[in-house]
Amino acid sequence: MDYFFFLLFALIAVVSAVNVVVQRHPIASALSLIGVMGSIAVLYLALGAEFIAMAQIIVYAGAVMVLFIFVIMLLNAGAEERRGRSWTAQLLGAPVLVAFLGMICYFIQREFANAGFMKFGNFSGGSAQSVGLALFTDYLLPFEVTSVLILIAILGAIVLARKEMD
Protein backbone atom coordinates (compact mmCIF):
# COMPACT_ATOMS: atom_id res chain seq x y z
CA MET A 1 0.00 0.00 0.00
CA ASP A 2 2.85 2.39 0.81
CA TYR A 3 4.52 1.47 -2.48
CA PHE A 4 1.33 2.00 -4.41
CA PHE A 5 0.72 5.50 -3.05
CA PHE A 6 4.35 6.51 -3.41
CA LEU A 7 4.57 5.34 -7.03
CA LEU A 8 1.24 6.91 -7.96
CA PHE A 9 1.97 10.33 -6.54
CA ALA A 10 5.61 10.31 -7.59
CA LEU A 11 4.45 9.61 -11.14
CA ILE A 12 1.92 12.44 -10.98
CA ALA A 13 4.61 14.77 -9.59
CA VAL A 14 7.16 13.92 -12.29
CA VAL A 15 4.65 14.13 -15.15
CA SER A 16 3.37 17.49 -13.88
CA ALA A 17 6.93 18.77 -13.46
CA VAL A 18 7.77 17.77 -17.04
CA ASN A 19 4.59 19.58 -18.07
CA VAL A 20 5.72 22.73 -16.25
CA VAL A 21 8.92 22.77 -18.25
CA VAL A 22 7.47 21.74 -21.60
CA GLN A 23 4.17 23.66 -21.89
CA ARG A 24 4.27 26.85 -23.90
CA HIS A 25 1.46 28.75 -22.24
CA PRO A 26 2.29 30.05 -18.74
CA ILE A 27 -1.17 29.22 -17.38
CA ALA A 28 -0.71 25.57 -18.31
CA SER A 29 2.67 25.61 -16.57
CA ALA A 30 1.11 27.22 -13.51
CA LEU A 31 -1.64 24.60 -13.28
CA SER A 32 0.88 21.79 -13.68
CA LEU A 33 2.93 23.35 -10.88
CA ILE A 34 -0.17 23.26 -8.68
CA GLY A 35 -0.43 19.57 -9.54
CA VAL A 36 3.20 19.06 -8.47
CA MET A 37 2.55 20.85 -5.19
CA GLY A 38 -0.56 18.82 -4.51
CA SER A 39 1.17 15.49 -5.07
CA ILE A 40 4.14 16.58 -2.96
CA ALA A 41 1.65 17.45 -0.20
CA VAL A 42 0.31 13.89 -0.34
CA LEU A 43 3.88 12.57 -0.13
CA TYR A 44 4.39 14.74 2.95
CA LEU A 45 1.31 13.11 4.49
CA ALA A 46 2.83 9.70 3.75
CA LEU A 47 6.05 10.81 5.46
CA GLY A 48 4.16 11.79 8.60
CA ALA A 49 4.37 15.57 8.17
CA GLU A 50 0.67 16.40 8.35
CA PHE A 51 0.97 20.03 9.45
CA ILE A 52 3.52 20.78 6.74
CA ALA A 53 1.32 19.07 4.15
CA MET A 54 -1.64 21.29 4.99
CA ALA A 55 0.64 24.35 5.17
CA GLN A 56 1.94 23.46 1.70
CA ILE A 57 -1.57 23.48 0.28
CA ILE A 58 -2.70 26.61 2.14
CA VAL A 59 0.45 28.68 1.51
CA TYR A 60 2.00 27.35 -1.69
CA ALA A 61 -0.86 25.97 -3.74
CA GLY A 62 -3.48 28.30 -2.34
CA ALA A 63 -1.71 31.66 -2.08
CA VAL A 64 1.62 31.77 -3.95
CA MET A 65 0.23 30.08 -7.06
CA VAL A 66 -2.88 32.28 -6.96
CA LEU A 67 -0.47 35.21 -7.06
CA PHE A 68 1.26 33.69 -10.10
CA ILE A 69 -2.04 33.12 -11.87
CA PHE A 70 -3.15 36.70 -11.11
CA VAL A 71 0.04 38.10 -12.61
CA ILE A 72 -0.27 35.90 -15.71
CA MET A 73 -3.88 36.98 -16.19
CA LEU A 74 -3.11 40.66 -15.58
CA LEU A 75 -0.16 40.73 -17.95
CA ASN A 76 -2.13 38.73 -20.51
CA ALA A 77 0.90 36.54 -21.08
CA GLY A 78 0.38 34.55 -24.24
CA ALA A 79 1.94 31.35 -25.43
CA GLU A 80 5.67 31.52 -26.01
CA GLU A 81 6.76 31.56 -29.64
CA ARG A 82 9.16 28.91 -30.76
CA ARG A 83 12.38 30.75 -31.48
CA GLY A 84 15.48 29.15 -32.93
CA ARG A 85 17.54 27.62 -30.21
CA SER A 86 21.18 26.84 -30.53
CA TRP A 87 22.15 23.41 -31.81
CA THR A 88 24.13 22.57 -28.68
CA ALA A 89 21.13 23.15 -26.47
CA GLN A 90 18.83 21.03 -28.59
CA LEU A 91 21.25 18.15 -29.09
CA LEU A 92 22.88 18.00 -25.71
CA GLY A 93 20.05 19.19 -23.46
CA ALA A 94 18.14 16.00 -22.75
CA PRO A 95 21.09 13.55 -22.73
CA VAL A 96 23.11 15.73 -20.34
CA LEU A 97 20.09 15.96 -18.07
CA VAL A 98 19.64 12.20 -18.04
CA ALA A 99 23.35 11.65 -17.40
CA PHE A 100 23.33 14.14 -14.54
CA LEU A 101 20.30 12.46 -13.02
CA GLY A 102 21.83 9.01 -13.39
CA MET A 103 24.94 10.17 -11.58
CA ILE A 104 22.95 11.65 -8.72
CA CYS A 105 20.79 8.56 -8.36
CA TYR A 106 23.86 6.36 -8.29
CA PHE A 107 25.37 8.41 -5.47
CA ILE A 108 22.12 8.45 -3.51
CA GLN A 109 21.74 4.71 -3.84
CA ARG A 110 25.32 4.20 -2.70
CA GLU A 111 25.06 6.41 0.37
CA PHE A 112 21.52 5.83 1.54
CA ALA A 113 20.87 2.25 0.54
CA ASN A 114 20.35 1.11 4.11
CA ALA A 115 19.02 4.35 5.50
CA GLY A 116 15.66 3.07 6.51
CA PHE A 117 12.19 2.51 5.28
CA MET A 118 9.18 4.71 5.28
CA LYS A 119 6.01 3.07 6.44
CA PHE A 120 2.96 5.20 6.90
CA GLY A 121 2.69 5.88 10.60
CA ASN A 122 6.25 5.22 11.73
CA PHE A 123 6.89 8.89 12.43
CA SER A 124 4.30 10.62 14.55
CA GLY A 125 6.26 13.73 15.43
CA GLY A 126 4.87 15.81 12.61
CA SER A 127 1.67 16.91 14.26
CA ALA A 128 0.84 20.59 14.72
CA GLN A 129 1.67 20.29 18.40
CA SER A 130 5.25 19.09 17.90
CA VAL A 131 5.93 21.55 15.08
CA GLY A 132 4.53 24.39 17.19
CA LEU A 133 6.53 23.31 20.23
CA ALA A 134 9.78 23.23 18.25
CA LEU A 135 9.02 26.55 16.55
CA PHE A 136 8.39 28.37 19.79
CA THR A 137 11.19 26.86 21.88
CA ASP A 138 14.24 25.82 19.86
CA TYR A 139 13.65 27.96 16.79
CA LEU A 140 12.11 31.06 18.29
CA LEU A 141 14.65 33.51 16.90
CA PRO A 142 14.35 32.38 13.25
CA PHE A 143 10.57 32.46 13.67
CA GLU A 144 10.60 36.09 14.77
CA VAL A 145 13.11 36.96 12.04
CA THR A 146 10.79 35.48 9.39
CA SER A 147 8.04 37.79 10.54
CA VAL A 148 10.39 40.73 9.90
CA LEU A 149 11.19 39.15 6.51
CA ILE A 150 7.51 39.04 5.60
CA LEU A 151 7.16 42.67 6.63
CA ILE A 152 10.07 43.61 4.34
CA ALA A 153 8.49 41.65 1.49
CA ILE A 154 5.16 43.47 1.98
CA LEU A 155 6.90 46.84 1.94
CA GLY A 156 8.93 45.90 -1.13
CA ALA A 157 5.89 44.73 -3.06
CA ILE A 158 3.92 47.87 -2.21
CA VAL A 159 6.77 50.19 -3.18
CA LEU A 160 7.40 48.37 -6.45
CA ALA A 161 3.80 48.13 -7.51
CA ARG A 162 2.52 51.61 -6.80
CA LYS A 163 2.08 54.19 -9.51
CA GLU A 164 4.70 56.93 -9.74
CA MET A 165 3.55 60.18 -8.18
CA ASP A 166 4.47 62.95 -10.63
Binding site: I27, L31, I34, E50, F51, M54, A55, I57, I58, A61, G62, A63, V66, I69, F70, M73, L74, S127, A128
Partner: protein, 396 residues
Amino acid sequence: MVFFIITLIKIAIIAFVLLTVLAYLQWVERKVIAHVQVRMGPSRVGPHGLLQPLADVIKLITKEGVMPPHVNSFFYLLAPFLAVFMALISISVIPFGTQLTVGPYTTWMQLTDLNVGILFILAVSSMGVYGIALAGWSSNNKYALLGGLRSSAQMISYELPMSLAIASPLLIAGSLSLREIVNSQAGYNLGFIPKWLVFAGPFPQIFSFIIFMIAAFAETNRIPFDLPEAENELVAGFHVEYSSMTFASFFMAEYANMVTVCSIATLLFLGGWHPLWPVEYGSNFFAPLILFGAGAICIYHGLNPARPLDRYTLPVFGIVFFGLAGLMLFPPTVPILMPLFWFLAKCGFLLFVFVWIRATLPRFRYDQLMGFAWKGLFPAALLNLLVTGFLVALAS
Protein backbone atom coordinates in the same frame (compact mmCIF):
# COMPACT_ATOMS: atom_id res chain seq x y z
CA MET B 1 -12.07 -4.70 4.73
CA VAL B 2 -15.14 -4.01 6.86
CA PHE B 3 -13.81 -0.49 7.32
CA PHE B 4 -13.79 0.09 3.57
CA ILE B 5 -17.33 -1.17 3.11
CA ILE B 6 -18.64 0.95 5.96
CA THR B 7 -16.83 4.00 4.57
CA LEU B 8 -18.25 3.38 1.10
CA ILE B 9 -21.77 3.17 2.52
CA LYS B 10 -21.22 6.40 4.44
CA ILE B 11 -19.92 8.12 1.32
CA ALA B 12 -22.97 7.02 -0.65
CA ILE B 13 -25.37 8.21 2.04
CA ILE B 14 -23.63 11.56 2.55
CA ALA B 15 -23.31 12.22 -1.18
CA PHE B 16 -26.97 11.44 -1.81
CA VAL B 17 -28.20 13.49 1.15
CA LEU B 18 -25.89 16.39 0.32
CA LEU B 19 -26.95 16.65 -3.30
CA THR B 20 -30.63 16.54 -2.33
CA VAL B 21 -30.06 19.17 0.34
CA LEU B 22 -28.33 21.42 -2.21
CA ALA B 23 -31.27 21.21 -4.57
CA TYR B 24 -33.82 21.88 -1.82
CA LEU B 25 -31.71 24.66 -0.35
CA GLN B 26 -32.43 26.52 -3.54
CA TRP B 27 -36.15 25.88 -3.04
CA VAL B 28 -35.92 27.21 0.54
CA GLU B 29 -34.06 30.28 -0.71
CA ARG B 30 -36.61 31.09 -3.37
CA LYS B 31 -39.54 30.62 -0.99
CA VAL B 32 -38.02 32.68 1.82
CA ILE B 33 -37.00 35.53 -0.49
CA ALA B 34 -40.47 35.44 -2.01
CA HIS B 35 -42.26 35.65 1.33
CA VAL B 36 -39.96 38.45 2.48
CA GLN B 37 -40.98 40.30 -0.68
CA VAL B 38 -44.68 39.52 -0.02
CA ARG B 39 -45.16 37.20 -2.95
CA MET B 40 -45.42 33.46 -3.24
CA GLY B 41 -42.40 32.02 -4.94
CA PRO B 42 -42.55 28.70 -6.78
CA SER B 43 -45.97 27.20 -6.19
CA ARG B 44 -47.04 25.52 -9.41
CA VAL B 45 -44.69 22.62 -9.90
CA GLY B 46 -45.85 20.15 -7.29
CA PRO B 47 -47.45 21.12 -3.98
CA HIS B 48 -45.94 24.39 -2.81
CA GLY B 49 -43.36 24.20 -5.55
CA LEU B 50 -41.59 21.23 -3.96
CA LEU B 51 -40.84 19.68 -7.33
CA GLN B 52 -39.33 22.94 -8.64
CA PRO B 53 -35.73 21.81 -8.05
CA LEU B 54 -36.46 18.66 -10.03
CA ALA B 55 -37.86 20.75 -12.88
CA ASP B 56 -34.81 23.01 -12.74
CA VAL B 57 -32.43 20.08 -12.89
CA ILE B 58 -34.25 18.56 -15.84
CA LYS B 59 -34.21 21.89 -17.64
CA LEU B 60 -30.52 22.46 -17.01
CA ILE B 61 -29.52 18.98 -18.09
CA THR B 62 -31.50 18.99 -21.29
CA LYS B 63 -30.56 22.54 -22.25
CA GLU B 64 -28.13 22.91 -25.10
CA GLY B 65 -24.63 23.29 -23.75
CA VAL B 66 -23.20 26.04 -25.88
CA MET B 67 -19.43 26.14 -25.89
CA PRO B 68 -18.40 29.34 -27.63
CA PRO B 69 -15.59 28.90 -30.16
CA HIS B 70 -13.41 31.63 -28.71
CA VAL B 71 -12.86 30.05 -25.32
CA ASN B 72 -9.83 28.07 -24.24
CA SER B 73 -11.66 24.75 -24.14
CA PHE B 74 -9.53 22.75 -21.72
CA PHE B 75 -9.64 25.37 -18.96
CA TYR B 76 -13.24 26.28 -19.77
CA LEU B 77 -14.28 22.72 -18.97
CA LEU B 78 -11.82 22.30 -16.07
CA ALA B 79 -13.05 25.33 -14.11
CA PRO B 80 -16.55 24.16 -13.05
CA PHE B 81 -15.12 20.72 -12.32
CA LEU B 82 -12.54 22.25 -9.96
CA ALA B 83 -15.15 24.45 -8.30
CA VAL B 84 -17.54 21.58 -7.57
CA PHE B 85 -14.74 19.19 -6.55
CA MET B 86 -13.30 21.58 -3.96
CA ALA B 87 -16.74 22.48 -2.66
CA LEU B 88 -17.86 18.89 -2.15
CA ILE B 89 -14.63 17.46 -0.77
CA SER B 90 -14.69 19.64 2.35
CA ILE B 91 -17.80 17.81 3.59
CA SER B 92 -15.67 14.74 4.21
CA VAL B 93 -14.28 15.91 7.54
CA ILE B 94 -17.46 17.34 9.06
CA PRO B 95 -18.91 15.32 11.94
CA PHE B 96 -22.71 15.29 11.89
CA GLY B 97 -23.29 13.54 15.18
CA THR B 98 -21.94 11.00 17.60
CA GLN B 99 -21.35 7.33 17.25
CA LEU B 100 -23.75 5.08 15.41
CA THR B 101 -24.03 1.41 16.28
CA VAL B 102 -25.66 -0.89 13.74
CA GLY B 103 -25.45 -4.52 14.76
CA PRO B 104 -21.83 -5.35 15.63
CA TYR B 105 -20.38 -2.29 13.84
CA THR B 106 -19.76 1.07 15.49
CA THR B 107 -18.85 4.09 13.48
CA TRP B 108 -18.84 7.85 13.85
CA MET B 109 -21.17 9.98 11.75
CA GLN B 110 -18.19 11.46 9.97
CA LEU B 111 -16.33 10.27 6.89
CA THR B 112 -12.84 10.76 8.30
CA ASP B 113 -11.44 12.46 11.34
CA LEU B 114 -8.16 14.08 10.37
CA ASN B 115 -6.19 15.41 13.29
CA VAL B 116 -5.57 18.55 11.24
CA GLY B 117 -9.22 18.68 10.19
CA ILE B 118 -9.73 22.43 10.41
CA LEU B 119 -6.55 23.07 8.38
CA PHE B 120 -7.94 20.76 5.71
CA ILE B 121 -11.06 22.90 5.46
CA LEU B 122 -8.92 26.05 5.13
CA ALA B 123 -6.74 24.38 2.49
CA VAL B 124 -9.70 23.25 0.40
CA SER B 125 -11.35 26.67 0.60
CA SER B 126 -8.17 28.37 -0.59
CA MET B 127 -8.07 25.97 -3.54
CA GLY B 128 -11.65 26.96 -4.38
CA VAL B 129 -10.36 30.25 -5.78
CA TYR B 130 -8.99 28.47 -8.85
CA GLY B 131 -12.35 27.42 -10.23
CA ILE B 132 -13.54 31.00 -10.41
CA ALA B 133 -10.25 32.51 -11.61
CA LEU B 134 -9.93 29.95 -14.41
CA ALA B 135 -13.59 30.38 -15.38
CA GLY B 136 -13.13 34.10 -15.71
CA TRP B 137 -9.90 33.86 -17.67
CA SER B 138 -10.74 31.02 -20.03
CA SER B 139 -13.95 32.68 -21.22
CA ASN B 140 -11.85 35.10 -23.28
CA ASN B 141 -14.26 37.90 -22.44
CA LYS B 142 -13.24 41.10 -20.68
CA TYR B 143 -16.28 41.14 -18.41
CA ALA B 144 -15.70 37.57 -17.35
CA LEU B 145 -12.01 38.25 -16.74
CA LEU B 146 -12.75 41.28 -14.59
CA GLY B 147 -15.43 39.42 -12.67
CA GLY B 148 -13.15 36.43 -12.14
CA LEU B 149 -10.23 38.56 -10.95
CA ARG B 150 -12.45 40.58 -8.63
CA SER B 151 -14.00 37.47 -7.16
CA SER B 152 -10.63 35.79 -6.64
CA ALA B 153 -9.16 38.89 -5.02
CA GLN B 154 -12.21 39.09 -2.75
CA MET B 155 -11.92 35.44 -1.75
CA ILE B 156 -8.23 35.59 -0.92
CA SER B 157 -8.64 38.88 0.96
CA TYR B 158 -11.36 37.47 3.18
CA GLU B 159 -9.47 34.24 3.82
CA LEU B 160 -7.23 36.12 6.23
CA PRO B 161 -9.87 37.33 8.70
CA MET B 162 -11.58 33.95 8.37
CA SER B 163 -8.40 32.06 9.32
CA LEU B 164 -7.76 34.39 12.25
CA ALA B 165 -11.37 34.07 13.39
CA ILE B 166 -10.97 30.27 13.25
CA ALA B 167 -7.66 30.43 15.17
CA SER B 168 -9.21 32.06 18.25
CA PRO B 169 -11.57 29.24 19.29
CA LEU B 170 -8.81 26.76 18.46
CA LEU B 171 -6.72 28.32 21.22
CA ILE B 172 -9.47 27.50 23.68
CA ALA B 173 -10.41 24.10 22.27
CA GLY B 174 -6.80 22.97 22.12
CA SER B 175 -6.96 20.70 19.12
CA LEU B 176 -7.23 20.90 15.34
CA SER B 177 -9.43 17.84 14.98
CA LEU B 178 -13.09 18.74 14.48
CA ARG B 179 -14.33 15.92 16.68
CA GLU B 180 -12.11 17.06 19.57
CA ILE B 181 -13.25 20.65 19.16
CA VAL B 182 -16.89 19.62 19.52
CA ASN B 183 -16.07 17.32 22.44
CA SER B 184 -14.44 20.23 24.26
CA GLN B 185 -17.78 22.03 24.15
CA ALA B 186 -19.68 19.33 26.04
CA GLY B 187 -21.08 20.05 29.45
CA TYR B 188 -22.87 22.94 31.04
CA ASN B 189 -21.78 25.89 33.16
CA LEU B 190 -23.95 26.64 36.20
CA GLY B 191 -26.00 23.58 35.32
CA PHE B 192 -27.85 24.98 32.35
CA ILE B 193 -25.71 27.37 30.23
CA PRO B 194 -24.02 25.29 27.53
CA LYS B 195 -20.26 25.43 27.30
CA TRP B 196 -20.36 26.40 23.64
CA LEU B 197 -17.37 28.43 22.57
CA VAL B 198 -19.58 31.37 21.67
CA PHE B 199 -20.71 31.74 25.30
CA ALA B 200 -18.06 30.21 27.51
CA GLY B 201 -14.34 29.74 27.85
CA PRO B 202 -11.95 32.35 29.21
CA PHE B 203 -13.23 34.79 26.56
CA PRO B 204 -16.62 34.31 24.87
CA GLN B 205 -15.96 33.94 21.17
CA ILE B 206 -18.88 36.08 20.06
CA PHE B 207 -16.58 38.44 18.13
CA SER B 208 -14.88 35.53 16.39
CA PHE B 209 -18.31 34.22 15.45
CA ILE B 210 -19.38 37.54 13.93
CA ILE B 211 -16.07 37.98 12.07
CA PHE B 212 -16.26 34.41 10.82
CA MET B 213 -19.81 34.82 9.55
CA ILE B 214 -18.99 38.07 7.73
CA ALA B 215 -15.90 36.51 6.15
CA ALA B 216 -18.00 33.44 5.26
CA PHE B 217 -20.45 35.63 3.36
CA ALA B 218 -17.54 36.99 1.35
CA GLU B 219 -15.90 33.61 0.81
CA THR B 220 -19.04 32.10 -0.65
CA ASN B 221 -19.77 35.17 -2.82
CA ARG B 222 -23.15 35.78 -1.20
CA ILE B 223 -24.94 39.09 -0.74
CA PRO B 224 -23.80 41.60 0.53
CA PHE B 225 -20.50 40.57 -1.10
CA ASP B 226 -21.67 39.16 -4.40
CA LEU B 227 -20.60 41.99 -6.70
CA PRO B 228 -18.46 39.71 -8.90
CA GLU B 229 -21.37 37.51 -9.85
CA ALA B 230 -24.46 39.69 -9.70
CA GLU B 231 -26.57 39.75 -12.81
CA ASN B 232 -26.64 43.48 -13.15
CA GLU B 233 -22.93 44.00 -12.58
CA LEU B 234 -20.41 43.21 -15.27
CA VAL B 235 -23.04 41.24 -17.17
CA ALA B 236 -23.04 38.49 -14.51
CA GLY B 237 -19.31 38.34 -14.04
CA PHE B 238 -17.28 35.20 -14.35
CA HIS B 239 -19.99 32.80 -15.45
CA VAL B 240 -21.36 34.85 -18.33
CA GLU B 241 -20.11 32.42 -21.00
CA TYR B 242 -21.35 29.30 -19.27
CA SER B 243 -24.64 27.57 -19.99
CA SER B 244 -26.68 24.61 -18.75
CA MET B 245 -24.85 22.07 -16.66
CA THR B 246 -21.60 24.01 -16.29
CA PHE B 247 -23.56 27.03 -15.05
CA ALA B 248 -25.48 24.78 -12.68
CA SER B 249 -22.26 23.37 -11.30
CA PHE B 250 -21.05 26.83 -10.28
CA PHE B 251 -24.23 27.33 -8.33
CA MET B 252 -24.01 23.88 -6.83
CA ALA B 253 -20.49 24.77 -5.73
CA GLU B 254 -21.74 28.01 -4.17
CA TYR B 255 -24.47 26.25 -2.17
CA ALA B 256 -22.07 23.49 -1.11
CA ASN B 257 -19.63 26.14 0.12
CA MET B 258 -22.49 27.72 2.05
CA VAL B 259 -23.31 24.39 3.72
CA THR B 260 -19.62 23.90 4.57
CA VAL B 261 -19.13 27.29 6.23
CA CYS B 262 -22.38 26.96 8.18
CA SER B 263 -21.28 23.52 9.39
CA ILE B 264 -17.88 24.87 10.43
CA ALA B 265 -19.54 27.76 12.29
CA THR B 266 -21.80 25.25 14.06
CA LEU B 267 -18.91 23.00 15.02
CA LEU B 268 -16.52 25.70 16.15
CA PHE B 269 -18.82 28.16 17.84
CA LEU B 270 -22.25 26.69 18.46
CA GLY B 271 -21.28 23.40 20.03
CA GLY B 272 -21.83 20.99 17.14
CA TRP B 273 -24.30 18.35 18.12
CA HIS B 274 -24.68 19.26 21.82
CA PRO B 275 -28.15 20.36 22.89
CA LEU B 276 -28.97 23.86 24.05
CA TRP B 277 -30.04 22.83 27.55
CA PRO B 278 -29.27 19.67 29.47
CA VAL B 279 -31.00 16.38 28.83
CA GLU B 280 -32.23 16.31 32.43
CA TYR B 281 -34.38 19.36 31.75
CA GLY B 282 -36.01 17.71 28.78
CA SER B 283 -34.06 18.78 25.71
CA ASN B 284 -34.80 15.40 24.17
CA PHE B 285 -38.43 16.44 23.79
CA PHE B 286 -37.66 19.61 21.87
CA ALA B 287 -37.44 17.89 18.48
CA PRO B 288 -40.69 15.90 18.77
CA LEU B 289 -42.42 19.05 20.05
CA ILE B 290 -41.34 21.08 17.02
CA LEU B 291 -42.33 18.31 14.64
CA PHE B 292 -45.72 17.88 16.33
CA GLY B 293 -46.26 21.60 16.02
CA ALA B 294 -45.38 21.53 12.32
CA GLY B 295 -47.72 18.58 11.78
CA ALA B 296 -50.54 20.33 13.64
CA ILE B 297 -50.09 23.50 11.55
CA CYS B 298 -50.15 21.46 8.34
CA ILE B 299 -53.33 19.62 9.32
CA TYR B 300 -55.04 22.84 10.46
CA HIS B 301 -54.28 24.53 7.14
CA GLY B 302 -55.34 21.40 5.36
CA LEU B 303 -58.77 21.68 6.91
CA ASN B 304 -59.14 25.35 5.87
CA PRO B 305 -57.33 25.19 2.55
CA ALA B 306 -56.11 28.42 0.93
CA ARG B 307 -55.65 26.66 -2.41
CA PRO B 308 -57.79 23.81 -3.71
CA LEU B 309 -55.03 21.23 -3.82
CA ASP B 310 -54.04 21.95 -0.20
CA ARG B 311 -57.01 19.88 0.99
CA TYR B 312 -55.10 16.76 -0.05
CA THR B 313 -51.41 17.61 0.13
CA LEU B 314 -51.20 19.42 3.47
CA PRO B 315 -52.71 16.60 5.56
CA VAL B 316 -50.21 14.23 3.96
CA PHE B 317 -47.37 16.50 5.05
CA GLY B 318 -48.96 16.68 8.51
CA ILE B 319 -48.96 12.91 8.81
CA VAL B 320 -45.31 12.77 7.66
CA PHE B 321 -44.37 15.27 10.38
CA PHE B 322 -46.26 13.27 13.01
CA GLY B 323 -44.41 10.14 11.87
CA LEU B 324 -41.05 11.90 12.24
CA ALA B 325 -42.06 13.16 15.69
CA GLY B 326 -42.93 9.61 16.72
CA LEU B 327 -39.58 8.42 15.40
CA MET B 328 -37.85 10.99 17.59
CA LEU B 329 -39.66 9.64 20.65
CA PHE B 330 -38.70 6.01 20.01
CA PRO B 331 -36.07 5.22 22.69
CA PRO B 332 -33.54 3.10 20.73
CA THR B 333 -33.09 5.79 18.06
CA VAL B 334 -32.96 8.79 20.40
CA PRO B 335 -29.16 8.77 21.03
CA ILE B 336 -28.53 8.65 17.27
CA LEU B 337 -31.19 11.08 16.08
CA MET B 338 -30.94 13.74 18.79
CA PRO B 339 -27.36 14.87 18.10
CA LEU B 340 -28.11 14.80 14.38
CA PHE B 341 -31.23 16.91 14.94
CA TRP B 342 -29.37 19.52 16.99
CA PHE B 343 -26.57 19.77 14.42
CA LEU B 344 -29.03 20.11 11.55
CA ALA B 345 -31.12 22.63 13.49
CA LYS B 346 -28.16 24.90 14.19
CA CYS B 347 -26.73 24.54 10.67
CA GLY B 348 -30.20 25.10 9.22
CA PHE B 349 -30.65 28.23 11.30
CA LEU B 350 -27.36 29.64 9.98
CA LEU B 351 -28.38 28.79 6.40
CA PHE B 352 -31.67 30.61 7.04
CA VAL B 353 -29.64 33.64 8.19
CA PHE B 354 -27.70 33.46 4.90
CA VAL B 355 -30.93 33.48 2.90
CA TRP B 356 -32.51 36.14 5.13
CA ILE B 357 -29.58 38.48 4.59
CA ARG B 358 -29.74 37.87 0.87
CA ALA B 359 -33.37 38.98 0.90
CA THR B 360 -32.73 42.10 2.93
CA LEU B 361 -29.38 43.75 2.35
CA PRO B 362 -28.01 45.64 -0.67
CA ARG B 363 -24.59 44.78 -1.98
CA PHE B 364 -21.24 46.45 -1.35
CA ARG B 365 -19.30 48.29 -4.01
CA TYR B 366 -16.00 46.62 -4.79
CA ASP B 367 -13.69 49.17 -3.21
CA GLN B 368 -15.87 49.30 -0.11
CA LEU B 369 -15.70 45.51 0.05
CA MET B 370 -11.89 45.33 -0.16
CA GLY B 371 -11.43 48.28 2.20
CA PHE B 372 -13.68 46.58 4.71
CA ALA B 373 -11.62 43.39 4.56
CA TRP B 374 -8.20 44.93 4.97
CA LYS B 375 -8.93 47.99 7.09
CA GLY B 376 -11.82 46.69 9.19
CA LEU B 377 -12.12 42.93 9.57
CA PHE B 378 -8.42 42.04 9.54
CA PRO B 379 -7.39 44.35 12.43
CA ALA B 380 -10.52 43.29 14.33
CA ALA B 381 -9.66 39.61 13.90
CA LEU B 382 -6.05 40.24 14.97
CA LEU B 383 -7.18 42.11 18.07
CA ASN B 384 -9.61 39.33 18.91
CA LEU B 385 -6.86 36.71 18.56
CA LEU B 386 -4.56 38.77 20.77
CA VAL B 387 -7.14 39.16 23.53
CA THR B 388 -8.12 35.48 23.35
CA GLY B 389 -4.51 34.35 23.52
CA PHE B 390 -3.81 36.65 26.44
CA LEU B 391 -6.81 35.42 28.41
CA VAL B 392 -6.10 31.76 27.65
CA ALA B 393 -2.51 32.20 28.83
CA LEU B 394 -3.75 33.88 32.01
CA ALA B 395 -6.32 31.21 32.67
CA SER B 396 -3.96 28.22 32.35
